[in-house]
């Protein structure tokens, strides 16, 4: 996926990719496989300071943005959570901070994976998205103030 594409283009491409799968087993298998290909976080970030504690699974989020382009690495101890992280980061990474702050993650509804992002699911994903948005706002604010 080109880094020049927009956030909605990347979401649309992902949806198209998932349309190949007829049933949930294949869809979930693809989520799990995407998790296996996820860019690993640097071990120095596998600490409590970068951990998003979920009741069911844990997420570690490593911010590595430069300028106003947002870039994150993340990991989870659960494979489905990790696969969903891969999906989210594929769409969100390489976006501008302002794009992320304003973007509604509606593409997940179409993937039928939305239930995993519910705050009541307690797998750390909902908190991860909130954290990414906060980072994005901070990146944008920082960029404006240093202009």
């Amino acid at each position: 996926m080109s880094v020049d594409s927009s956030i909605s283009e990347r979401a649309a491409a992902l949806l198209e990719e998932f349309e190949m799968f007829d049933d949930w087993v294949d869809r979930y298998q693809h989520v799990i496989d995407l998790g296996k290909e996820l860019e690993p976080i640097d071990e120095a970030f596998r600490t409590d300071a970068f951990k998003i504690q979920g009741c069911q699974s844990q997420v570690w989020l490593q911010p590595c943005s430069s300028g106003r382009q947002v870039h994150f690495k993340a990991d989870s101890d659960a494979q489905i959570t990790k696969g969903l992280i891969a999906i989210l980061l594929r769409v969100l990474n390489h976006s501008s901070a302002i794009e992320i702050a304003q973007y509604e993650l509606t593409f997940l509804d179409s993937l039928e994976l939305k239930e995993h992002l519910s705050p009541t699911r307690k797998n750390g994903l909902d908190a991860m998205i909130r954290q990414i948005r906060l980072y994005s706002v901070a990146i944008e604010a920082n960029a404006i103030s240093t202009q």
């Binding site: 087993v25 979930y28 069911q56 494979q79 489905i80």
Partner: protein, 402 residues
């Protein structure tokens, strides 16, 4: 069996297009029609506040509410209804004892003895009161099989021990603790015992008089009754001395700014308008359980536990956590390195409801060095066919995850 399953309307539904297999009974059980109808009937016909009204409805509500207390007292073998205190549930019951008994009897340097297999609700209330008074929560270790380390328990009892607070049946492992021996042992040293009976009452008859237990806590919703309601049984000798836990209406005798006197037992501990429908629903649940009978229930559960253990252990890489000799119908397990969250998510897609995670027993998970488990818990309305579906779904989950 079909007849029994018809008593539970929630069992009859499709999840992701498949018939629901409900194996999360240790978290909460489904409710029989008898309970649903009792609650419905109360709100339709008798709804009124209890104890204070002179009108007919209030009298009917009070009769039903106090009748429920009599049903519950008889069910657990309490000598008197005044020893049966209504609470919001097991957690509330333990908090009541921790605050009121703990606040009265615990002093700096004292110890409250709990085990490593306690639910957080039988750890944290003791930590709170112990921190306040300078006492210590001491833990009894658990063996690799998930049993209480009995010699360590005996060695932990001392003149510093002011209370033993122990789970009757472990929610995470299913272990049934030898509570009769534990109580005898503790009483020989003059130490009272509190039992967390939340996981015990659905599986067998509990007789507080025969156990000679000092406090027994349990919830309605794990016994086929409504949520938000539970019981604290306490021996009168302690309840009389213990101060009220919460203040408000119903728990008072005379209120005056110069000083208030308190109502008699059990009302001293029941501030505010109670969960009247909860009491009535729980009494209906008890009557339902009595009509099924523990003979049938225990026979059914033992068969399911044996069959599920046999079917699940045949799965490659499956490891059961908690292999106590004396065990309730609960199987906690892990498959290979698969995370419980992933397994639970996939089982749900197959229409199977299990519990995943640490089961509010983080110290126990730490002791076994695991992030959590997948827990299947059975009750008398479950079937072997459901266990077959569980087994097949676990194999499919393993194929996806490993």
């Amino acid at each position: 069996m079909d007849k029994i399953r018809e008593d539970f309307p929630a069992l009859n539904q499709l999840i992701h297009g498949l018939p629901l297999v409900y194996l999360d009974n240790a978290a909460t059980t489904q409710k029989p029609l008898a309970v649903i109808e009792a609650i419905d009937g109360y709100y339709r016909n008798d709804n009124s506040n209890v104890h204070r009204g002179v009108h007919t409805l209030s009298q009917r509500a009070t009769d039903a509410y106090e009748g429920a207390r009599a049903t519950i007292a008889e069910y657990i073998g309490a000598k008197s209804t005044s020893e049966v205190i209504f609470t919001r549930g097991t957690t509330d019951s333990i908090n009541l004892v921790a605050a009121s008994f703990g606040g009265t009897y615990l002093k700096a340097g004292d110890e409250v003895l709990v085990s490593e297999m306690e639910h957080h609700s039988n750890i944290v209330p003791w930590q709170l009161i112990c921190n306040r008074v300078g006492a210590t929560v001491r833990t009894i270790p658990v063996t690799d099989a998930g049993e209480l380390d009995y010699p360590a328990f005996k060695a932990s009892l001392s003149t510093k021990t002011k209370l033993v607070a122990l789970t009757h049946v472990s929610n995470a492992l299913g272990t049934i603790n030898p509570v009769k021996d534990i109580i005898t042992e503790a009483h020989a040293m003059g130490i009272p015992v509190l039992l967390d009976g939340a996981q015990a009452v659905p599986h067998g008859r509990v007789d507080v008089a025969e156990l000679d237990v000092d406090f027994y806590c349990f919830s309605s919703h794990k016994l086929f009754g409504p949520t938000g309601f539970g019981v604290l049984y306490g021996k009168r000798e302690f309840l009389e001395v213990m101060p009220p836990y919460q203040g408000g209406g119903d728990m008072i005798d005379v209120v005056d700014f110069a000083g208030t006197t308190f109502n008699d037992l059990p009302y001293k501990f029941e501030a505010g308008t109670p969960h009247i429908a909860g009491a009535i629903g729980m009494a209906a649940a008890i009557k339902y359980v009595n009509s099924i009978g523990f003979g049938f229930i225990q026979n059914q559960e033992a068969g399911l536990l044996h069959y599920a253990t046999q079917q699940l252990t045949a799965i490659d890489g499956l490891r059961i956590i908690g292999e106590a000799k004396d065990k309730a119908s609960v199987i906690s397990f892990l498959i290979g390195s698969a995370h419980p969250y992933d397994v639970g998510t996939i089982l749900d897609k197959f229409g199977i409801a299990v519990r995943t995670g640490h089961h509010c027993t983080q110290p126990l998970m730490k002791r076994f060095g695991i992030p959590g488990t997948v827990r299947a818990s059975f009750t008398f309305y479950n079937t072997r066919a459901e266990i077959d579906r569980l087994e097949i779904a676990i194999r499919k989950a393993a194929a996806m995850l490993l």
